[in-house]
Amino acid sequence: MTSRRKLLRFVPGLVGGLTLVLLALGAPAAAYHTNFTANCNNWWLNSGPVTRYEARSYAYVAAGEGYQWGGGCWNNNNLDDSPGDPPRDPNTRGEGPDCSGFTFKTWFERSETTDPWFRYHYWQQNVHGPYTAADFKNGAGAANTTWPKASTFYMDAFASTYHIGMIYWANTSYNQDRIIEAKCEACGTGTWPRTYRGNPDYSGVRRLYWQ
C-alpha cells in the first residue's frame, strides 16, 4: 500500500474518532464546565439556637462568592469560582447558593419543615432546602413567620415571590437597608444597599427561636 493510500484511509478514521469523542464527552463537559460542586459534600450537624450575630457571620463568608440557581455550596476565597454560568440552569453545577437556599442555610434551618430547630450546614454542603422565596414570603415552615417590615431587625428578611434577601445592616443615611443576598449569576452573593423595605412586592419574614 502506498503512503498516499494509507493516508487516505487514516484521515477519515482520525476525523471520526475525534468527532465521536468530542460529541460524546465534550457536550456534557461543557454543560458542567466548572463542575464546582464536585468538591461539595453533605455535611451538617444539628445544634441548639444560635444568635443573629452568628448567622450574620456565617452569611458574611459567602459574600464575594458565586450564585447558582438551585445551589447551596460555596467556599470562602472571595471569588466566584464559576463565573458566567448560563443562568437558570441548575445543571451547571457552579458555586454558590440561590437566594432562598442562602437564606435556608444562613438561618440554620432543617430540611424537615415541621422541625423549627437549628442545623449547621457546612459551607460546602450542597443543599438548597425545601423553601422557595415565595414560601418564605408566606412564612412557610415551622421555623419561619411573616413579620411587619417596619419592625424588622437585622437578619430578618424581605421576600417577594421571586427573591429574598436578609437585612445585614438596617437604615443607611439614605434610608436604604444593606442586604446580604444571593442576587443573580452576574451579581453573585454579597451585600448591597437595597430598597426592598418600601417595595410592596416584598414582605417581612422572620426566622423564629434565635438565641
Binding site: L18, A29, E54, G70, W123, T132, Y162, S173, C184, W192
Partner: protein, 448 residues
C-alpha cells in the same frame, strides 16, 4: 482483522486520544475549583450609619457593629469587638479618644456632644481576634463629620394619600425588553431578582444615556429618536451612571467584591478605569471636580478622578468627604430614617439651610436630593405594607414650595437610588413594566 481496516482504525484511536486530551486540558484542568476549607483571616467589616446632621447643643449617639466572619467552617463565629471613637470638635486640632461601650443589643456606642460647631470623628476597633481596623479607613486624615443644626425648616407631610399621583408631563422614550437598538436587557428568572437597566442620566445635549448592563452596553437615546450603542465591560449585575457637564460618562460597576469606576468620552471611548477603595458602592454623581462615589462601609463620597490617570484607592480614601460636593462651593447632606429625613446644604463646616421632613407614613429611601434654586429638590419614597409611591418635594430655604406624588412603576429593579435624575427644571424617571421601560418627565415649575 483485514489489513484494509488497520489505517482507519489507527486514525480513529488517535483521533479519540487527541479529543480526550483536548477536553482534559481545556475543560477539566481549567475549571478545578479552589481547594476546600480555605480559611479567611481578614478583619471583617465595621458597620455604622453616620448621623451627619444633629441638633446643635445636643448629644448624638455613634453606634457601631462588627461582622467578624467565621475563621473556620464550624458553629460559632462570634467575636468580641471593642474600641474607641476619636472626636475632634470643629476648630480644635487634636482628636480625643472616647471608649465605646457595649449596649444591651450588642452594639458599641458612644455619646458625643454636637456643640454648636459640630465635630469630626473616626473609630478604631479591635475585632477581639487581635486585628484592628479604622472607619473611615483614612481615619484622622479624612474623618467623618457631623454638622450642627441650629435652625431648620420643618416640613410635615401628613399621612400620604396613596394613589393620588401626578401623571408625567411627557414620555420621552419607550423601549421593549430585549437586545435590539430599541430594547433594554432584562435579567430575570426563578429565585433571583428581576433586574432591568441599572441607571440613566441626561447628557448636556438632551440625550438620555442608559446603563444597559444586562446587554453590556450604554444605550444613548437621542432627542430626535435615534439610538446609539456603545459596548462596555461590565462584570457585575448592577451599577450606576452619571454624565458630567462636559458630556463625560461615568459608570460604576458595583458587582462582585471590588467595585470599579470607568469613565468614557461623550462618544463612548473608554478613558480610564479604577478600582474603588471600598467594597460596596451604590451611587456615582458628578461633582465640581469630577465623579464622586458613595461607598460603604464609610458612607462617604470618594473622588475617583475625572480623567487619566484616575485616582488610586489610597487617593480616594484621602479625599473622602461626608457631604457630596456640588457647584457654588456647596455640598448636599442627607440623613434619613423611617420617621424623619434631614437635608442640608452646607459650605464647609457651616450649615447654609436645613430641612426636617416628617410624616406619620413611613419614609423610605431618598431617591434624589439635588440643588434647585436656593434650596433642594428631593424625591423620597413613602410606603406602608401594601402600598408605596414617591413624593417630590421642592424645598425652598424657609418653606415647602411645592410637592406632588409620582407612581413608583418599578416592575424591574434598578440600582437602588437611581430611578430619578434632574436636569434644569425637568425631573426624569426611569419606569418599568412587564412590557418594557419608559423615561417619563415631570416639569417642576408647576408644583402645587
Amino acid at each position: 482483522m483485514k489489513k484494509t481496516w488497520r489505517w482507519p482504525l489507527a486514525g480513529f484511536v488517535l483521533g479519540g486520544l487527541v479529543g480526550a486530551t483536548f477536553l482534559t486540558v481545556n475543560v477539566v484542568g481549567a475549571s478545578s475549583p479552589a481547594p476546600a476549607g480555605v480559611t479567611g483571616s481578614s478583619f471583617g467589616e465595621i458597620l455604622h450609619t453616620p448621623p451627619l446632621l444633629a441638633h446643635a447643643g445636643e448629644a448624638v449617639e455613634l453606634r457601631y457593629d462588627v461582622v467578624c466572619g467565621q475563621v473556620k467552617d464550624e458553629p460559632g463565629g462570634a467575636c468580641t469587638p471593642k474600641g474607641s471613637v476619636f472626636v475632634r470638635a470643629s476648630g480644635a486640632s487634636e482628636f480625643v479618644e472616647q471608649p465605646l461601650e457595649r449596649e444591651p443589643d450588642g452594639l458599641l456606642s458612644a455619646e458625643v456632644p454636637t456643640g454648636h460647631g459640630g465635630f469630626d470623628y473616626y473609630a478604631e476597633l479591635d475585632n477581639g481576634r487581635g486585628e484592628t481596623a479604622t472607619l473611615p479607613e483614612a481615619a484622622a486624615a479624612a474623618p467623618e463629620h457631623v454638622w450642627p443644626l441650629a435652625t431648620w425648616t420643618t416640613v410635615d407631610l401628613g399621612s400620604e394619600q396613596f394613589g393620588e399621583t401626578r401623571p408625567p408631563s411627557s414620555i420621552v422614550s419607550e423601549l421593549t425588553w430585549g437586545k435590539g437598538s430599541q430594547a433594554l436587557g432584562l435579567d430575570s428568572g426563578q429565585e433571583q431578582s428581576r433586574i432591568g437597566p441599572s441607571a440613566f442620566d441626561v447628557a448636556p445635549d438632551g440625550s438620555i444615556v442608559v446603563l444597559d448592563q444586562v446587554n453590556h452596553r450604554l444605550l444613548t437615546l437621542q432627542p430626535g429618536g435615534a439610538t446609539a450603542q456603545v459596548p462596555i465591560d461590565f462584570a457585575g449585575g448592577e451599577g450606576d451612571l452619571a454624565v458630567g457637564g462636559d458630556g463625560k460618562i461615568y459608570v460604576l460597576d458595583a458587582g462582585g467584591s471590588q467595585p470599579v469606576v470607568r469613565s468614557f468620552s461623550p462618544a463612548g471611548d473608554l478613558i480610564a478605569g479604577t478600582p474603588l477603595a471600598e467594597t460596596t458602592a451604590d451611587m456615582v454623581r458628578v461633582g465640581p471636580d469630577g465623579p464622586l462615589v458613595h461607598a460603604y462601609p464609610s458612607e462617604m463620597w470618594l473622588p475617583t478622578g475625572p480623567g487619566r490617570p484616575p485616582l488610586a484607592p489610597e487617593q480616594q480614601l484621602a479625599g473622602a468627604q461626608a457631604a457630596r460636593s456640588v457647584d457654588g462651593g456647596l455640598a448636599v447632606v442627607v440623613s434619613a430614617s423611617p420617621a424623619e429625613a434631614r437635608f442640608a446644604l452646607v459650605r464647609g463646616g457651616e450649615v447654609v439651610h436645613s430641612w426636617l421632613v416628617r410624616s406619620p407614613t413611613s419614609l423610605g429611601e431618598v431617591q434624589l436630593a439635588e440643588p434647585f434654586g436656593d434650596g433642594l429638590l428631593v424625591v423620597v419614597r413613602l410606603w406602608n405594607e401594601s402600598q408605596a409611591q414617591f413624593r417630590v418635594l421642592r424645598l425652598a430655604p424657609d418653606e415647602l414650595a411645592g410637592t406632588f406624588a409620582v407612581d413608583r412603576t418599578e416592575w424591574a429593579e434598578t440600582a437602588s437610588v437611581s430611578r430619578f435624575r434632574l436636569r434644569g427644571s425637568t425631573l426624569y424617571q426611569l419606569r418599568s413594566a412587564p412590557s418594557g421601560v419608559e423615561i417619563a418627565t415631570f416639569e417642576i415649575g408647576g408644583t402645587r
